[in-house]
Amino acid sequence: MRPLLGLLCGLVFGIGLVVAGMSDPAKVLNFLDVSGVWDPSLAFVMGGAIVTAFVGYRWAWRRTAPAMMDRFDVPSSSAIDRPLLVGAALFGMGWGIGGFCPGPAWTALPLLAPGTLAFLPAMLAGLWLGGRLQALPAFQPKGEPT
């Protein structure tokens, strides 16, 4: 049952990305190009998604547990720390070069553009590498034993 529901969630997410035009890196890069050929569409995607999730989360949290699991498991950290900011800065640079963030990179895969086929495996290698970097002393919370 869980895989079937997971597939459904992924399909709805992916159809949302495609309908929103976000599987097209040109549209994303044109949103980021405020002083050029600006296309504000991405702001409408984020607005629609955030308002829907804001309302829907509060509905979902009225139950004591999610339907398929024992408990809710949402991030508890509130620290604005070095790994968060360094990671976000690196991600921003890559997003600005390629026009892909992780969701659209998967959704673009079946269209088989050469740029996508170069980007996606590199992103997966980066996801693995980034997990390793998190363990480095420079990215450990201050004052805690390492």
Partner: protein, 146 residues
């Protein structure tokens, strides 16, 4: 990287965004988790020990299947221009992977789900990655004249 200008699509993008938000709500109501694609990808590929992999693998399969489904309904729906420089796309993919793993989230995890949870940590991440992405596009398009 000369990519074409894109048309502003407020309604399609708003509707697509609502679908993305709906998927985030489904993931919360069913699995009790944030619908962050970077994190889901890492868990699906066994890079982190975050519980049940089966629904996450199916979620990624749904993302990949989505454009195929959409193109069956409307063959003209998917227009795409992917940057063609393969070395740049490999570099971009690495940055996006490392950055989202290190910063614990991407456009969906911090952007949609984090902001819907009113997380100050996610707001700091979003401001940082959008800022760096806009700066990167500005440098590529308007300073180095890409």
């Amino acid at each position: 990287m000369l990519l074409p200008p894109t048309e502003f699509t407020p309604w399609a993008s708003l509707f697509g965004g609502i679908l993305i938000g709906l998927s985030a709500v489904m993931v919360m109501a069913l699995f009790g988790r944030i619908a962050g694609i970077a994190g889901i990808s890492r868990s699906a590929l066994g890079m982190s020990g975050a519980g049940d992999r089966s629904w996450r693998i199916a979620f990624v399969a749904g993302l990949v299947a989505a454009p195929v489904l959409v193109s069956l309904v409307d063959p003209g729906a998917i227009a795409q221009s992917v940057p063609s420089s393969l070395p740049l796309m490999i570099g971009a993919g690495l940055l996006v992977g490392v950055g989202t793993a290190l910063g614990s989230g991407c456009t969906s995890g911090h952007g949609v789900c984090g902001l819907a949870r009113l997380s100050a940590r996610s707001l700091a991440a979003v401001t940082t990655f959008v800022g760096f992405a806009m700066l990167t596009v500005f440098l590529i398009r308007h300073v180095f004249g890409g």
